[in-house]
Subunit: 299 residues, 2 copies
């Protein structure tokens, strides 16, 4: 299930890279075919990048690109949805697969999108930078986002192992996913190596090699998201990956305010930074005691 | 359930606005207290903005702000999760509530975040613009994102009505949510008016009033997301709302490539832009016929 969920994420990331190059940079199928051919040699070497290369170069008998004739609607009743259900059940923020599933839902709303496209406007945008350098930024953004997606997938496996008392060998799982699987890639070999280095690795992002990848790709990743936002190109998977990265490396998130709100309107209580975990406090925020409802601590 | 899901979203949006002002602009509780007081008069007038104002101004007996002493971890086993499960089941892209639920999951991983914060770096950033103008940008970003969240919530209601054969009065639902509910706001009155104008409105974003709101807020919204991305402040709800907006107004999404990939590796078939819906095609991408597996059309 996690393999297939990751496959949803990988395909969504490839689609977003394609959309940025096509819509944001105005690149042709031929140009993008060459880009994916180049990407397939190196860190992104994988079956899905390889067949994207082939698809972008494929013409029908009329000499026209088949990819341009395909309707942009996809279904999503399978294992991507199952992975998201499981993530919600186990409380693991597998945000990228979630966005990939929802992106398919949105793609299926073709008639609504066609109507909306005639009413809702986007920004004025024309790319003015160095196209070749920006395509390399897109490659690095794709790599960094892919890393976050795999980190989230392995977080889900680890939480399942904990809750269901499974003994999982994460390095072996990475290897299994290389054997004829759709997500097979050089990248999975790096994951195996990370778990060989440290079988107790708690998160792929903390492994030295992957940490180095993120450090190296980070500036490009942010530039791509900024350009996409300014161009009005939807990149839900790239952005959720970056939000996750920024959240995961934040010792302090704004959930203190969230807890204050919940304590204010529902007396849900909160823990404190200067007190042991498991000790709960309530503040009578209004000074009246009348506008909160007590007795709902576990909602 | 949808009310409570939207409540999750509203709270997450407020938390992200707070985080941008606190972390990105370095504003004090006192300054943010004043900002929320101002926001509560006008388009954002609502119970949650009002109590955020109160919380940010609230000091304990030692004269210290309580909000700073609250641990930044929140639970999520309730109706937010239920709303997301239901969105996945009905195939409706309710992305903002999904991100809000996952943001709570991430907040709960306090120990992991503390470890990661010592290893994973962020960007160098110092805000250099006009602070007052940027705070107004944040207000508009919050308003636009909130509108997307409600549009998604009503999309979920509409799909449920369709699949379960319910006869729902959407204007009345908006009114009911004003009666003592946590999400009560002036905004819900505008939703009621939109459905009064057009009881068959298919999406809130297409209503003249809300369409005008989005048009007016759009540039601010993009500026806020860009600054947050450059500052390394996680804003998953702001960004997913913007991605949804950009996707929803796209007649053409990159799902054509997605369908090509699925047809390549699994012979899933695809529809075409130049043929009637319901007619399915398959391409023998490899020219060999051997590297695709047929007979899996409905996967």
């Amino acid at each position: 299930m996690v393999h297939n969920g990751i496959e949803y994420g990988d395909m969504q990331l490839i689609c977003e890279a394609y959309q940025i190059m096509k819509q944001g940079l105005g690149m042709s199928n031929e140009e993008m075919h060459a880009v994916f051919a180049e990407w397939n040699v190196g860190e992104l070497d994988s079956y899905l990048i390889e067949i994207t290369r082939d698809i972008l170069g494929y013409k029908d008998e009329a000499g026209e690109y088949v990819v341009d004739k395909i309707l942009d609607t996809a279904g999503q009743k399978g294992t991507g949805k199952w992975t998201s259900d499981s993530s919600l059940e186990l409380g693991v923020p597998v945000t990228l697969i979630g966005e990939a599933v929802f992106a398919r839902c949105l793609s299926a709303m073709k008639a609504d999108r066609t109507t909306a496209s005639k009413i809702l406007s986007g920004p004025e945008y024309a790319f003015t930078g160095d196209k070749k350098a920006f395509v390399e930024d897109v490659r690095q953004a794709l790599l960094a986002s892919k890393l976050v997606s795999y980190a989230q997938g392995f977080m889900l496996l680890a939480e399942a192992a904990k809750q269901y008392k499974w003994d999982l060998n994460y390095g072996e799982i990475a290897l299994v996913w290389r054997a004829g699987c759709i997500i097979r890639s050089a990248f999975l070999g790096k994951i195996k190596e990370a778990f060989d280095r440290n079988p107790k690795l708690t998160n792929l992002l903390l492994d030295d090699y992957f940490h180095g990848v993120i450090e190296r790709c980070q500036a490009s990743w942010r530039r791509v998201v900024v350009q996409a936002v300014e161009a009005g190109v939807p990149v839900p998977a790239f952005t959720t990956a970056l939000s996750f990265y920024d959240g995961y490396r934040s010792e302090r998130l704004p959930a203190n305010l969230l807890q204050a709100l919940r304590d204010y309107f529902g007396a849900h209580t909160y823990e404190r930074v200067d007190q042991p975990r498991g000790k709960f406090f309530h503040t009578n925020w209004t000074g009246k005691g009348g506008s909160v409802s007590a007795g709902t601590y576990n909602v």
